[in-house]
Amino acid sequence: MGKVKVPRKSTVVDMTAMTDVAFLLLTFFMLATQFKPEEAVVVDTPSSISEIKLPDTKVMQISIDKTGKIFFGLEGTEFRKALLDNIASKRQITFTATEKEEFSKLANFGTPLSELKSYLGMSKDQRKKYNEETKGIPCDSTQNATNELKDWIIESRRVTNSAAVIAIKGDRDSNYPVVKNIIATLQAQKANRFNFITNMEQAPNL
């Protein structure tokens, strides 16, 4: 009576190869990507066939959400600090050192100047709630003091020596009059070159 002996095979697998793959991918992602800036608004951009990429540095970004609220953002913490200083002296508002520090961390914001001070003192959750209810940065067809976006643009261009690339990131459903006001404001500053941020799309074959 010969019993068939089934050889006991080890279930342990060599993990070395898997480690290699995991760390290879990890290295790839660390090198090929960069950290997402914390956006105050969600914007669903329209698509275009354009293949030009947004430059890495000195970007001034004007975002429009789907209800037409305007948000503003300038890249670079040093530029942001200088920007707030200029705005403060222009509008006679004083900011504390902690408020300036908070401002330099903001990727973008959508508060009228009168509420900026309280916004800088808010916690993360409060800001999230505020951004849903805010009216955005005031911008109208006039070039007066009521057009606060104008001041942000002027001062941003000043601190970056007019080298900042202006990028408009509009939501596909935002109304045209808002865009028209922004373009008119830019044109009044002689900023006639700007970019629309879009999603990439395959060009149709004609």
């Binding site: 993990m15 992602f29 090929a32 990429k53 009059p177 700007f194 879009t198 999603n199």
Partner: protein
């Protein structure tokens, strides 16, 4: 294979000779793999892969002092006006001012404004289709990138080509503006401008029975 060998090298206690314990050099890699994948997940979620693409816009210089006779005149035979209005509709007409032909209504579909733009551009700029040939030559490395660009902008900015005036009304969306600018790029039309709407144009939209309100 990858687990730590705990059995050691013992089991031979009979011999008097003292042997050093044979320790396995195998290390368990499973926690390291866990850590690796955890970090990958973290980086995938918190970072963005590529820069967004942008559409370059050049607006004409707005100068209040500019006199009417200094402004660039365009020939009525070259001009085409595209009016953007609500519900993704387009009204377009040819000519300027009084010599305007019947305004027509269309949409953003492939058989809509794109077809019109292509037909009209081809009529005025016969070399338009050679862009395709130049592009293929550039892809096959028969001409350099610079040569392609020179030819491309020469054809696009042909002085007899179509000049498009884009006007958007208050009912239109931002998407419509980007779409029409995109159509300009798709149909290789380099001569266009975003202009303010005149009361006459607005009337043309409002009086048109084919425009859905």
């Amino acid at each position: 294979m990858a687990d730590i060998d705990t059995s050691g090298g013992g089991g031979h206690k009979k011999g008097g000779k003292k042997r050093g314990k044979k320790l396995s050099t195998r290390v368990d890699f499973t926690p390291m793999v866990d850590l690796g994948f955890l970090l990958i997940t973290f980086f995938m979620l918190t970072t963005s892969m590529s820069k967004p693409s942008v559409m370059d816009i050049n607006m004409p210089v707005k100068d209040e002092q500019l006199k009417d006779e200094d402004k660039t005149k365009i020939k009525a035979s070259q001009a085409m006006t595209i009016l953007l209005t609500g519900k993704d509709q387009i009204v377009y007409y040819f000519g300027i001012g009084e010599e305007v032909q019947n305004p027509l209504v269309t949409n953003f579909g492939a058989n809509g404004i794109r077809k019109v733009l292509l037909e009209e551009s081809r009529k005025r700029n016969p070399s338009l289709d050679s862009i395709k040939i130049f592009k293929q030559m550039a892809n096959e490395r028969r001409i350099t990138e610079d040569e392609f660009k020179a030819n491309y902008s020469r054809i696009r900015n042909n002085k007899n080509g179509l000049i498009v005036l884009i006007k958007a009304d208050d009912k239109s969306k931002y998407k419509n503006l980007v779409d029409i600018l995109d159509e300009m790029n798709i149909t290789n039309n380099g001569r266009y401008a975003i202009v303010d709407m005149t009361p006459g144009d607005l009337k043309m939209i409002n009086d048109n029975p084919y425009v859905k309100k």
